[in-house]
């Protein structure tokens, strides 16, 4: 059931309050009841963003503290030469865990967490579109992250550096489980990050206040949109990299072993294709926060909105052209290096645009020197210095001198602390009044800022010199007389100054932060954006029309009218949780989304997913597999109640606008999520094909190697034909499932059931074709690459089979018909993707070696 994108009844240029007063008796109480949090032990099954967002932020901050403590131990060790506080073995674990935890368990989750809390508030949505997915992502991160961190107490923590370069991390040089903890632990936490990114993309595009068209979207929403798209493009590379390295370690598939046709540089490409955008992935949300805070502090609209959006999008693109600048010292051709050098300097331009826009905004208004303002000034100073040294190391000749020295340590901390930590503290001080009954102390905040600002500069400024006079990074001690003693001591004093600032913050936070459910501290900064509307578990009582980027400044009485329920959807239309879905460009109401409520399913699914990966690390395969199956069962249990269908006729949300409570096709929010998921899958596959081609490039005389025969030329056509037949069957089933009469043709489950063996047979035939030739996955990188492609395809086929069986089950249970067909549509999209990927895989595996002269 679709509705047109434009609804003639709504005109955002002439807003009239859509709902009259007084509101019907019981309307507000029903809304409150629908969004009530579970009580007692079930409290942890809450899924709405106001709860999950806070837990998420708190957990990310916990990891910041834990990783910070690790850094303090390292700084004590380095405070004096020839210190023996910690040995080299533990030191290796300390610096690996510090980097890994800060990047994967603090930085990315922290910015994702903040957006889980803030985005719905800022866009006046009741919640994000997939609250259970948010809860799943959070619990997977919480359980997995804590178990991962605890490895340091047992000497099992990874010790190969946060970028885990092979061959150091290959079985030969790292035979213990330490590296596996990183590969499996972090690998699956990245899946949690991707789940969050899908949620954010759909949330930004589909759940905004009415009238909040693209040109009126908060800059923070733009930043989070670019951030999430970058995760979708960049994270698959590291997921694939971790998969390949784990397969090498577990099954001896030599992707990175040079003696058998592999190449350690492949890891570096995969890691840094994720790793450099990662810096911007955590920087862009921070700039989004700054772009929200600066106008509020200066009490004037942001200058250069369009230029800032351009800068965000430009950074999103250009940051994917920088990864090799981490590999300048690997001996790549100079011209190749120059491409990355050029992009590395070009990406400074959009950052510069944003810095000048903020300065112009500050200059055009009256900046109040509050704690958030101080942290932003600190951010501008520290990040700009880090950016300048970034341009220096973007020059290959300079980088060759500074590579792997403390200069790089100084640079990256200036960029990351300046570019992310300071804006995050500004954000904490700025937005705490939204979530708490009282704001944090301004007086203490100044001290926190002062200690952290001085501490950061005292710690890291001397490191530029320490590095330039020769101290390499990652050494656990150094001899007397190198000239590094005093500089290291100063850095250690600085690190403890930062710690004092953070400790003071924690004390202030503990004293003053009190969770507010409906009585928050209010709009203490007189800000202009929607998160400062009165809010509660359901966020805003009614969903407003906005006509500018600062609606609270431009629309008098907005808060009161929203709170009185005079705008859209002031109650609950279906008796349950809902939010309003709006069109992605001009934010016109499209339909009422029935949002799932609390439940144990996402929590249990997350715990079992974490257990699956973590038990695999310690080679408890059977138990791990059991947990994997239980995780799938929990996900199916969770999904069973979703896709509720049109439970009631279209509803009047106010102002004469009548929208359905269910939609299918491209208007549906889960259709968007599935498209984003397919992009993720496509990126994993693309990275795998890149790996295949890369390994071909480094094996000029062996593709396939001597003595390896390709399968008969007819084999791929058999598999291909089976794939195509299965796709035709699914397409035919879709055709039969059309109509507004809620028909349930019996042929639909039969057609899906017929498609199942076709798709399974196609991938099995391909595996058999390769196996029959005697191709070994461990003899040479060629075999490893071929079997990796085949294995990935089998994984997608298995997923399609589960989805197909699940879709049949829904038909049998009477939960699928020609109107209530979102589940079928999602299965169909994924199915078509799997078929497309399978056909490309066949073309590459069978066609490429023949094209390039293979036998």
């Amino acid at each position: 059931m679709n509705v047109p994108e434009r609804s003639e009844a709504f005109d955002p240029r002439e807003p009239e309050l859509p709902n009259p007063l007084p509101r019907p008796a019981g309307e507000f109480e029903a809304l409150e009841k629908a969004w009530e949090a579970p009580r007692g032990l079930s409290f942890i099954t809450a899924v709405n963003n106001t709860y999950v967002g806070l837990w998420y932020v708190g957990t990310a901050f916990l990891f910041f503290i834990l990783a910070g403590i690790l850094s303090l131990i390292m700084r004590v060790q380095l405070a004096a030469p020839e210190s023996d506080l910690v040995g080299h073995g533990l030191y290796n674990q300390l610096f690996t865990m510090h980097g890994t935890v800060m990047m994967f368990l603090f930085a990315v989750p922290a910015v994702e967490a903040a957006s889980v809390y803030l985005l719905p508030n800022m866009q006046a949505a009741r919640d994000l579109p997939f609250p259970r997915l948010s809860a799943y992502a959070y619990w997977a991160y919480f359980v997995g992250g804590l178990v991962f961190f605890c490895t340091i107490f047992f000497g099992l923590a990874p010790n190969g550096g946060w970028f885990m370069y092979p061959p150091l991390t290959s079985t030969k040089y790292s035979p213990a489980d330490n590296a596996d903890w990183w590969l499996l632990g972090i690998g699956f936490i990245e899946i949690s990050a991707i789940a969050g990114a899908i949620e954010i993309i759909v949330g930004v595009m589909k759940t905004r206040a009415v009238g909040m068209s693209l040109d009126k979207m908060p800059v923070y929403s733009w930043a989070m949109l670019v951030f999430a798209v970058m995760i979708v493009i960049g994270f698959p590379a590291i997921i694939l990299g971790t998969l390949l390295l784990e397969m090498e370690r577990a099954f001896d598939w030599p992707f990175f072993i040079a003696e058998r046709g592999g190449d350690p540089l492949l890891w570096q490409h995969l890691f840094w294709f994720f790793g450099h955008p990662e810096v911007y992935i955590i920087f862009l949300p921070a700039t989004g926060m700054v772009s929200m805070i600066v106008p509020a502090m200066a009490q004037t609209p942001l200058i250069g909105y369009r230029l800032i959006v351009l800068a965000l999008v430009a950074t999103g693109f250009l940051s994917f052209g920088l990864w090799v600048h981490h590999m300048f010292a690997t001996g790549l051709p100079k011209m190749s290096l120059s491409f990355f050098s050029a992009a590395s300097t070009a990406v400074a331009v959009p950052s510069g645009i944003q810095v000048f826009a903020w300065i112009a905004t500050i200059a055009s208004g009256r900046m109040r020197l509050t704690t958030p303002s101080l942290f932003i000034i600190g951010f501008l100073f520290i990040f700009t210095l880090g950016g300048l040294t970034g341009v220096m190391v973007a020059m290959a000749p300079f980088d060759w001198q500074a590579h792997d020295s403390y200069f790089v340590v100084a640079h990256l901390h200036y960029v990351l602390i300046g570019g992310m930590v300071f804006p995050l503290f500004a954000a904490l001080y700025y937005w705490v009044p939204v979530a708490s009954k009282q704001a944090l102390s301004e007086r203490v905040g100044r001290w926190v800022f002062g200690l952290m600002f001085v501490g950061v500069n005292v710690t890291f400024l001397p490191m530029h010199i320490t590095g330039l006079i020769g101290m390499p990074r990652r050494v656990y001690t150094y001899p007397v007389g190198m000239g590094w003693d005093a500089l290291n001591l100063v850095s250690t004093l600085g690190a403890f100054t930062i710690a004092a600032g953070v400790a003071l913050f924690i004390v202030d936070f503990a004293r003053r932060f009190r969770i507010a459910r409906d009585e928050n501290a209010g709009n203490v900064w007189n800000a202009g954006t929607l998160e400062w509307l009165p809010n509660a578990n359901y966020n805003t009582r009614s969903i407003p029309i906005v006509v500018s980027r600062e609606p609270l400044w431009d629309q008098p009485n907005l808060s009161r009218d929203v709170q009185d329920g005079r705008y859209y959807l002031p109650g609950t239309a279906t008796g349950g949780r809902e939010t309003l879905v709006t069109s992605p460009f001009d934010a016109r109401p499209q339909y009422v989304l029935q949002v799932p409520g609390p439940g144990w399913q996402p929590l249990l699914a997350a715990v079992f997913t974490a257990a699956f990966f973590l038990l695999l690390t310690v080679k408890m395969v059977l138990l791990s597999a059991t947990c994997g199956v239980l995780a799938i069962i929990c996900v199916i249990w969770w999904l069973w109640d979703t896709d509720p269908g049109p439970v009631r006729p279209p509803v009047d949300i106010g102002g004469g606008i009548v929208v359905p409570v269910y939609a299918t096709g491209s208007m549906n929010h889960s259709w968007w999520a599935m498209i984003v998921l397919m992009v993720v899958a496509g990126m994993v596959f693309t990275c795998l094909i890149f790996s295949y081609l890369f390994l071909w490039l480094v094996n000029p005389a062996a593709w396939p190697p001597q003595g390896v025969a390709l399968p008969d030329g007819s084999r791929p056509f058999v598999s291909g034909a089976l794939y195509v037949v299965s796709a035709v069957l699914i397409a035919y089933a879709s055709r039969m499932l059309r109509g507004e009469d809620r028909r349930r043709p019996r042929a639909v489950p039969v057609l899906i059931a017929m498609a199942l063996p076709c798709v399974a047979g196609a991938s099995a035939a391909e595996l058999w074709a390769q196996w029959q030739t005697g191709l070994s996955p461990s003899a040479h990188a060629y075999g490893a690459a071929v079997y990796a492609i085949v294995s990935l395809q089998i994984f997608f086929v298995l997923t399609s089979l589960i989805m197909g069986i699940y879709t049949i089950a829904r038909w049998l249970a009477g939960r699928l018909d020609s109107v209530r067909r979102t589940t079928f549509d999602n299965t169909m999209l994924f199915w078509f993707y799997t078929i497309g990927q399978g056909l490309v895989a066949l073309a590459v595996v069978h066609g490429f070696p023949r094209l390039t002269g293979g036998v």
Partner: protein, 118 residues
């Protein structure tokens, strides 16, 4: 999202998409030709690596320039009653087109300064 909106998004991002394609092609071509020792060949008297980079850069510049011009044209043709997102996207398209021209040119310059495979 209808076809018109998809077209608008593609037009808005045309310059950056052109840069992304240029970047991928020139890096892949340089790596492949140098890695396989095929870089010795010439095209119209110019080294194969440089020739391909030149052609790719010119093509990317053309796409970015078209993105810029079409966005400006689209912006001019919008009437007073045009929807705000349409105005926004055409302005953003023009900005992105202009910026991309500089970036694409900057990206291609090294090919004419440095040797292909040294």
């Amino acid at each position: 999202m209808g076809g018109r909106r998809t077209g608008q998004v593609l037009l808005m991002l045309a310059g950056f998409i052109a840069w992304a394609v240029q970047f991928t092609v020139i890096y892949a071509v340089t790596s492949t030709l140098c890695g396989r020792e095929w870089a010795g060949a010439t095209i119209l008297g110019v080294g194969s690596v440089q020739a391909i980079i030149l052609a790719t850069t010119l093509a990317a510049l053309a796409v970015a320039a078209l993105g810029l011009l079409w966005s400006l044209q689209a912006h001019r043709s919008l009437g007073e009653a045009a929807a705000a997102p349409d105005r926004f996207m055409s302005q953003a398209g023009a900005l992105i087109g202009g910026f991309s021209l500089v970036v694409i040119l900057w990206q291609g310059i090294p090919a004419f300064i440095l040797p292909a495979c040294a």
